[in-house]
Symmetry: C2
Subunit: 246 residues, 2 copies
DNA sequence: ACCTGAACACCGTTCAAGT
DNA sequence: ACCTGAACACCGTTCAAGT
């Protein structure tokens, strides 16, 4: 029996226990999230899964926020970036990539919440940034503006997914919140809140997908019309010119 | 001594202990947040402040999310809505109201985080909605579009404030996250991530205020150019026309 | 040098049992 | 009817002490 054929000595209780490395920890975290949801991906529960104490994880991961960011970066591998190199209108393809990103986050809204605060910075995230920047560049968006635009687009997608984090655990809670807002809107006083009263629950209307799509298009239509302040020396006397012909 | 001049009997330990009512609880929560920050506004800590057990609070408040939403609504009283009824370009005045809203949230980014998931639905929030809707109406934005636009504008402002929730406790954490992303961007491979590499930390550049302002203007410029799908019978064969002349 | 048991200082929420 | 003590089932993070 040669060395290469020797199965590595398995630990007593779990033959396939992953090695305690950063990658192993994150891999286990992803699996745990798939099995039990993000809210079970805690330092303690994860340590338990790895047959160790929570303190051990702090050797490889700074804190819970960093752990979640790493998990998200892993998940970002599922985003479809192929439209970036396909043919067709750049705007449509931009929306396709962003929609794919949003769909991935919708699966784990809690992760979207974390992403707003602790952004991922791994390879998958850079892949996504690069794809979006290449589409904006193709669309003739100046580089300085694209740098800000990519943030704006991702922030909108992320925030939209994060909104669904309500009642990830208990759907009754989410319903309660929604119902409270709907009640408030329906009951709006025509004298104190005339515009709200006139619209009523129209303010909450429409399928989420249509609103998401509309939002993407508002941004994509607005970006070419909105130069960065001072970009071409227009800031002058304090109040920049915030519009520009297409 | 008549009844109206009789001071109400004070409880032994805290003469000015607020009554245990919903309003009293929320008032105390606001004070506690001012004194110790949002992360101390927990059911347990709040109960302690009110000299009772946490279970008592559940008679008046459904859960922690609802508590935070109520606190936020209270805070929204500080938003300056006066530009809504002032004179001048409606776009500028819209930005002024939104900037005031964002400034209030910046003081308590954790609350902005909650707001993305559990929106407030109190009077202050309706006041804000109505002010924004009146400005959009003044700008000639069709009502159905304004209903979605107001959401989009507030979501952007809220998400921007929420991003600052990183390191609300320990500034070192926030620095760590930011540094990690900056390192990743600077170290981007020119072959795998050419666009990211070309921009580098330009992606993180600029004062937050300028980016916020730019974002508002992108939205405000995009909204008049982007009809809601099917609004005027244009949806036809599945792919709506997502642009419109100003 | 590397790792971790045990502790510190907390959480949200529920419910049986009191008044 | 209204309220709550006590319990249940957890948290993140640190650090002294082990190997």
């Amino acid at each position: 029996m040669t060395a290469h054929s020797t199965p590595r000595p398995s630990r007593r209780e779990r033959p396939s226990k992953p090695a305690l490395t950063r990658d192993g920890i994150i891999e286990t975290a992803v699996a745990l999230m798939g099995a039990e949801g993000l809210r079970r991906v805690t330092m303690r529960r994860l340590a338990q899964e790895l047959d160790t104490g929570p303190a051990s994880l702090y050797v490889y991961v700074r804190n819970t926020a960093e752990l979640h960011a790493a998990v998200l970066d892993e998940l970002l591998g599922a985003v479809d970036l192929s439209p970036a190199t396909a043919s067709g209108d750049w705007r449509d393809r931009l929306v396709r990539v962003l929609t794919s990103y949003t769909r991935v986050l919708f699966e784990h809204p809690g992760l979207a919440r974390s992403a707003l605060v602790a952004r991922p910075s791994g390879d998958r995230y850079l892949d996504l940034l690069d794809a979006l920047l290449s589409l904006l560049s193709e669309g003739g968006v100046p580089a300085d503006r694209a740098a800000w635009a990519v943030d704006l687009l991702l922030q909108f997608a992320t925030a939209t997914a994060a909104e669904h984090a309500a009642g990830e655990k208990d759907p009754a809670d989410a319903e309660g919140e929604w119902a409270a807002l709907a009640r408030a809107l329906r009951g709006a006083s025509a004298t104190r809140h005339p515009h709200v009263a006139a619209l009523g629950t129209e303010l909450l209307s429409g399928p989420g997908e249509a609103r998401l799509n509309w939002g993407f298009h508002v941004l994509i239509n607005g970006i070419p019309h909105t130069p960065r302040p001072g970009a071409t020396g227009a800031e002058a006397t304090g109040s920049a010119d915030w519009t520009e012909p297409p």
